[in-house]
Structure formats: C-alpha cells, structure tokens
C-alpha cells in the first residue's frame, strides 16, 4: 500500500509506507523524492475531533506574510503547506526534515554519553545560544512556544545547532487570529499557569522566560530539575511555592554532583537563575529575559575560552579558586 498526498495546488507526492517516527498526535513520513522534506499526518482520531482547528492553524502559519521568515528559518520545522489525501481530505502538513538528538538526551545525567561522548560546557553553551537566537526571533514574530518539551528541541551532534519541531503546538498570531498552545508539561510551566486550562489562556513573554530558565538549568545541570528538592515536595509543588534550593537561604539540594556543577557556573549566571526561580516565581517581571540570557551565556562562553571555568560537563570537585570575574567570592553561593 503506497501513500500519496497532494498539496492544495494538486501536486502529488509519494510518502514512505511506514512512518519514521510517531507521536501522540501524528505520524511523520519521509518523502523519497525530496529527502529534505517530511510530512506529518495526524492520526485519524485526532482529525476526527480537531481537523478544522488544526487546518486553520496550519494554513494561517504557512500563509501569513508576517511569518515568511520563520518558514525559511534553518532552526525551525515550520509548516510549509497543507497536504490532502486522494479523496481531498486534509491530513496534515509538509515541513523541513530536522536532524539531531532530542535535548532531553543531552540534558540527562546518563543518556548523553552515548550520543554526545565529548560533551563539554562550551558545547552545551553553544547549543543554548543557538536555541536562544531562534526563540528570540519567534518572540519577535509574536510566537510563544508554550510547550517547552525538550524532546522537541533537536541538537545536531555534528554542529552546535538546535532545530525546533512540533511547531504546530505553539501559540501563534496569524491571519488575524490567535491560536493557543493547549499543552505543556506541568514541571516546565510557570506558576501562574499551573492548573489552568491551557487552551484558554495566553502565554506571555514572562511565562516563556520561566519555562526557558528551567530548560537552561536542566541543560547546564545534566538534566537535574531546578526544583528537585530532597525530602518531600515534587518539582511542580516547588514551582508553585517558588522554592529553589540553590543560593543563599536555600537548603535541600540533592546529594551528588549537583552542587559541584552549580559552583562552577559563573556568579552572574547563577544570580539570574536564582532571581528567576526565587523572586521570579511569584513576580513575573523579575524573570531574566532572552536578550539578558544571551548576554550572560556569551560572557560564560568568553570566560570558558579564557580558561576561567572548568569546561568539563561534570567537574569532580567544587570550585575552590576565587571566581575571576567581577565578583569575588571565596565560596560558591552556599546552600
């Protein structure tokens, strides 16, 4: 059985018989004639319920002239055009084929070794800067990612680029309408959105900044969640409470290499993480913005280059030497 789909203009193309990947909502097929393209076909049950909404969003995303630069963006698998089956039914869309390993494998205390055997801090920072650049362009275009699922950020092991997939779940203003982002993992979600019906609320830059800070922390800390605390409450409860164990007046940092790793991060970067996770939990305006993160990560990158910080992904001991940046402290900010 071969699968053929058509574009709105009637051009038809054959898909690989079996999808090369499956998600909860859709199957993704290769296109033998165009190796750079893949086609996402929503599962029939999903189409039965939401075909019209999905189609409206995909059509708006692929046709709004304000968004053309995103269509061409090398870091995005933005929907290019809708595809239809032979009976003319809407089935999904075509997009660029993205390459790379899911960021939840990179930001993982164990799993990174296989796919990124030489992973070091400069490499992590380079991926994060690539991602931040793309996110900044999305925000400029009024697009909010909303669902910070690390499995949708693909890191190319042979370069420092990150490509974002599953763009159709994002919050987009297009063709005069707002299409919301109905999903998110609670442990990546800003406190003001916890427990809300996400299909009915707007994501804001501030809610993005909160989720982003969690992502940055996890990537810099080998998958450890910033709100993992020993002795009781899980990450979601700690998000609601704004209880972040690192920095002064904390307590409850899990045993293991985490404090060591934390101690090797530049003071200025830690200050931003602390600010966002403590004060920034209840006070959205206190969260570090993307332009600020870019500055601080570039500073980290430069200082790594000068040999000021350990480049190992998991330094064996806490930092002992005084930090050679602008701040001089004899101890890393203690727990």
């Amino acid at each position: 059985m071969s699968l053929t789909v058509r574009s709105a203009t009637g051009e038809s193309v054959q898909l690989s018989d079996t999808p090369f990947a499956q998600g909860g909502e859709a199957a993704v097929h290769a296109v033998p004639r165009f190796p750079g393209v893949v086609v996402k076909l929503y599962h029939p049950q999903v189409l039965q319920k939401r075909a019209d909404t999905l189609r409206a969003k995909i059509d708006a995303m692929s046709s709004d002239p304000k968004l053309v630069s995103l269509k061409q963006h090398p870091g995005l698998a933005w929907p290019r055009f809708s595809v239809f089956d032979e009976r003319g039914q809407w089935r999904g869309y075509a997009m660029r084929k993205a390459a790379g390993v899911r960021m939840n494998v990179l930001a993982h205390a164990m799993a990174y070794r296989e796919q990124f055997p030489n992973l070091d801090r400069p490499a992590v920072v380079a991926y994060l800067l690539s991602l931040l650049g793309t996110l900044q362009e999305l925000h400029t275009a009024g697009v909010m990612v909303g669902d910070y699922n690390l499995a949708n950020f693909l890191c190319d092991p042979n370069s420092d680029t990150v490509t974002l997939i599953d763009c159709d779940s994002w919050q987009v203003n297009a063709a005069g309408k707002t299409f919301r982002c109905p999903v998110a993992a609670p442990d990546m979600l800003a406190p003001e959105l916890q427990g809300k019906e996400l299909g009915k609320v707007n994501r804001t830059l501030e809610s993005e900044y909160f989720s982003l800070a969690i992502l940055l922390f996890k990537a810099l800390m080998l998958g450890r969640h910033p709100y993992d605390v020993v002795g009781g409450a899980g990450p979601v409860e700690n998000i609601r409470k704004g209880y972040f164990p690192y920095g002064q007046g904390g307590g409850g940092i899990p045993k293991g290499p985490w404090f060591n790793i934390w101690s090797h991060l530049p003071f200025k970067l830690k200050e931003q993480l602390i600010g966002t996770f403590k004060e920034g939990a209840p006070n959205a305006s206190a969260r570090t913005s993307i332009p600020e993160w870019i500055d601080f990560l570039k500073l980290y990158q430069r200082e790594l280059g000068k040999g000021w910080h350990d480049t190992q992904i998991k330094p064996a001991n806490p930092k002992t030497k005084e930090y050679r940046g602008t701040q001089s402290i004899s101890q890393p900010i203690a727990a």
Partner: protein, 233 residues
C-alpha cells in the same frame, strides 16, 4: 524459589547500596514497576516458560530505549508456595541477566502483593529523600488462579491507591484465573490474557514505559498504547 538468584551479578545486600547511589547520580524521574507473579504449581509448563520469556524480553526492550532504561525501576515478587521478593527495586539498566522462574506450590498472592506495596512505599520515600521525581508506580499482577488466603486487605490497599491515582494497578488473568477476584486488586477491572501472549503483554509494558519515561513531566497523564495485542475481549 530463588530462581532469580543471578538476576543480577551482585548479591542482594549490595543491591540496596547500588540503588541508593543510583538515585544520587541519576536524577531521571523514575517509574517503579512491581511485578507480582503467580508461580504456583498450576503455572508450570508452558505458562511459566512463556512468562519467563516475557520478562526477559521486557528487560531487553526497556534497556534498548535510550530514556526508559534510565527511568524504569523493577522489583519482582513471586507467589509459589511462599511469597518472596526475588528482586528488590533496582534500575533496569543495572540488571545483568536473569535465570528463569519455576512454578510450584500454592498461591500466596495476597502476601506477595503486600510485600510489593510495602516496598513501593519505601522506594517512594527513597526517591523523596534523594529529590528524585517519580511517575505513578505500576503494580502488575499476573495469575492463572486466585489468591490462596488472606488477600482482601492487600487487594483493598492496591485498589484504593489505584482509585486515588497513586498506583497503576494492573491485574492480569491467565486462562483459568478468577477475574472477579483479581479485579478487586484495582479500581479498574482485570484484563484476561489472550492465550499465552506473555510476549505481547511485556512488549506492551515496555512500550508503555517508553511513553511514560518520554513524557516530560512526572505529573502529566500519559496516553498508553492499546492492550489489544494481548488482552482478550
């Protein structure tokens, strides 16, 4: 009944230490799975052979998944003559091999379930102490009969936890099982295994674990694959 003696290459005492370190070095959210297996006399022959093959397959498939292997913690309890914990909770990644179970004696499923639920509580405490998030634990109970005696309290505990969504309790009946009794171990009815499709059952279980461990949040509800491949309707 120590058929799993070389389930791993370390004796039980050090197992505990290893698991403990594991929670420190590996902060991946955990999905604990307790298998409670009827290994009474009636399971001997084909059923126990297929069950063994299924478990081996499960371990292999979880190990092959790049995220689930760091996330799934397994414990195994047998009810055959005596109730026994033949493997206390350990990361699947650390399991080296296993020797097959054999079947004999009565069916103290209640006692085996009680042990599993107690160990689950202890395991959850270790997670909290280590600051490691965890998904809803799974209790997979497989029997071709009915528990011998004194099972009601264990069934009630499992079913209450499952009603509170603190446990995914999955009683599975092999041919000859008393499904109405097994159903009392969960807030959802027991599923009858289609013939001896242990292979399909454990494939489904590993696929479910892959879904659970790939879901980014320990709080999210997960859409599991359909049980059509092994459940009979």
């Amino acid at each position: 009944m120590f058929a799993f003696a070389n389930f791993m290459n370390t004796p039980k005492e050090t197992t505990m230490n290893e698991s403990h370190d594991d929670l420190i070095d590996n902060p991946t959210p955990r999905c604990p799975v307790a298998l409670v297996l009827d290994t009474s006399g009636s399971m001997s022959g084909q059923p126990i052979e297929q069950l063994n093959a299924g478990i081996e397959l499960f371990i292999d498939e979880v190990k092959r998944d790049d995220l689930a292997r760091w996330s799934v913690d397994l414990a195994v309890y047998t009810a055959g003559g005596l109730a026994d914990c033949i493997q206390s909770f350990i990361g699947v990644e650390q399991i080296v091999g296993f020797s097959p179970l054999d079947a004999s004696g009565g069916t103290p499923l209640g006692q085996a379930t009680r042990m599993a639920l107690d160990d689950l509580e202890a395991r959850k405490k270790s997670y909290r102490d280590a600051g490691v998030p965890y998904y809803q634990p799974w209790l997979v109970l497989i029997s071709d009969g009915a528990p011998d005696y004194g099972w009601q309290d264990a069934a009630q505990r499992a079913s209450a936890l499952s009603a509170q969504r603190k446990l995914v309790s999955l009683p599975i009946g092999v041919q000859g099982a008393d499904l109405s009794v097994l159903s009392q171990f969960s807030s959802k009815p027991a599923v009858a295994l289609d013939g001896l499709k242990f292979r399909e059952l454990f494939q489904w279980l590993s696929a479910s674990m892959a879904r659970v461990s790939a879901s980014t949040s320990s709080d999210a509800s997960v859409h599991l694959p359909s049980v059509d491949s092994w459940g009979s309707v």
